[in-house]
């Protein structure tokens, strides 16, 4: 008889239990229960105001939930928010970068904030990854929207986060810039990093994600494996969810 017991199943990268958030009388999230396995990618859909950005901000611990809990790799977010934030990378609509500082200075600042070891080497690596090495001494304010979003991605990847949160990162990007951005995301730490992104692009989600969810009025209205769906079925389901669910 072999006494070796099977290791416990790994904790989900992200787990939310009864996650709710209210702004006054407005309920942005209403009891969201989710488990996102480590190394997987999840696309979050929903109409404007459905609660997608609130969901991402709570995961990033920028915002506190009204009730419910968030567990990141098995640890409750509110117990060690600072420690858990080191595992997260966040790309949002805005770059979170300073226009008066150069690309290098911006990344150096965030590298210090995240306690990145061997800063200069890592900054050079991520600048190379996003093809911005040639502009490293130029101020952010001189960059195009696409370049700024690539720099935002460099900032988010700087500390090698195990979970990448992307809140509509495609806003304002052309097709070429979009392709480059997803190419970078998939190239670095491919398969090891958990990716959660909110989007309005069904095609993109089907091509890059393992799972798809639809949030409507703060509730989880639908969840399915991306491999079980095609563009038509996703559009149909989105239409059903966003018109059927009532407050």
């Amino acid at each position: 008889m072999n006494n070796v017991t099977a290791p416990p199943p790994p904790s989900p990268a992200v787990e939310t239990v009864g996650l709710s958030k209210s702004f006054g009388n407005f309920k942005a999230l209403r009891g969201l229960d989710l488990k996102i396995p480590a190394g997987s990618s999840l696309a979050v859909f929903g109409p404007n105001g459905a609660g997608k950005t609130t969901f991402i901000k709570i995961l990033a611990s920028i915002m506190r939930p009204t009730s419910g809990k968030v567990l990141i790799e098995g640890f409750e977010l509110k117990d060690d928010a600072e420690g858990i934030r080191a595992k997260l990378g966040l790309v949002a609509h805005q770059s979170y970068l300073y226009g008066n500082l150069s690309a290098w200075e911006n990344l150096d600042f965030y590298a210090r904030m995240y306690g990145v070891q061997d800063r200069a080497r890592r900054i050079a690596e991520v600048l190379d990854l996003v093809s911005m090495t040639g502009r490293r001494y130029d101020r952010l304010s001189t960059f195009s929207r696409g370049m700024q979003q690539r720099m935002a991605l460099a900032r988010a990847l700087l500390h090698r986060p195990s979970i990448l949160l992307l809140d509509e990162p495609e806003t304002g990007l052309d097709q070429q810039a979009l392709g480059a951005m997803w190419d970078i995301i998939r190239r670095e730490e491919a398969g090891k990093r958990t990716i959660i992104f909110t989007s309005h692009s069904f095609e993109r989600a089907l091509s890059v994600c393992d799972d798809i969810i639809i949030i409507e009025r703060g509730r989880l209205a639908f969840r399915e494996r991306a491999c079980n769906m095609n563009l038509e079925s996703l559009k149909k389901k989105y239409g059903e969810c966003t018109t059927a669910v009532k407050p």
Partner: protein
């Protein structure tokens, strides 16, 4: 609480934030140039407004000096959180693995640097226009202590005001009544100093400034996380 490695990390982030603000300001000189023009204008107007004789100067000069410092400070503090609102950088800071308090302390130290720099330029102008010797340890100590409290409480009100539409109006309305004990004590202590009296004569006013410094350094650190989190 911050212990050992946490303390090192906390102060490392504080230094990074303060240095980032200083570097950004040195590049644009948005705060320093506009505030200096305003402060010098205040001093010049007061200089021409009164028929100054030595007795009158002794009475009104400390007030004029602190009017210039206070209103220049309000202008400077109004800008403290504006760079963090552009491109929503405050959210970027909040997503970093650092205590919210470090963001406040870093921003306050950056503002303190600008305020002291502005004051270091205003004081010689003041000395020139009003024919007063300002290189006195008492006056420098009063200015330094009062500026610490002024900036400490001003930084938290700046963080509050930056999310309002009329932030240029909101900051002075909220901030000046709260900081007035420090300004009044600073005017009184400066008056004693400029009259050539000793440290002993200004003890009560210095004690008031230090007491308010302690309050204004403690309370904002405690409330800042609630101010920035929705």
């Amino acid at each position: 609480m911050h212990h050992g490695g946490e303390t090192v990390k906390f102060w490392s982030c504080v230094r990074a934030i303060a240095w980032k603000d200083i570097l950004s300001e040195l590049r644009t000189r948005e705060i320093i140039s506009s505030v200096l023009v305003f402060a010098v204008l205040v001093l010049v107007i007061f200089n021409f407004a009164f028929d100054l004789n030595p007795d009158l100067i002794a009475q009104i000069a400390p007030g004029i000096l602190w009017v210039a410092f206070a209103f220049s400070g309000v202008l400077a503090l109004n800008r403290t959180f504006i760079p963090e609102k552009e491109d929503n950088c405050l959210e970027g800071l909040m997503a970093c693995p650092v205590a919210r308090e470090a963001i406040y302390v870093g921003k306050a130290i950056g503002s303190l640097f600008f305020m002291l720099l502005i004051e270091a330029i205003i004081l010689p102008v003041f000395a020139l226009l009003f024919n007063i010797a300002v290189l006195q340890p008492e006056l420098i100590a009063v200015t330094l202590l009062a500026t610490i409290g002024f900036v400490a409480v001003g930084t938290i009100f700046s963080a509050l005001a930056v999310n309002t539409r009329a932030r240029e109006m909101v900051l002075p309305i909220l901030f000046l009544p709260v900081v007035s004990p420090i300004i009044i004590a600073a005017v009184k202590a400066s008056s004693i100093s400029l009259a050539g009296q000793s440290w002993g004569d200004m003890t009560i006013w210095l004690a008031i400034i230090i007491a308010f410094d302690i309050i204004y350094l403690t309370v904002p650190v405690l409330v800042f996380p609630f101010v920035v989190e929705e």
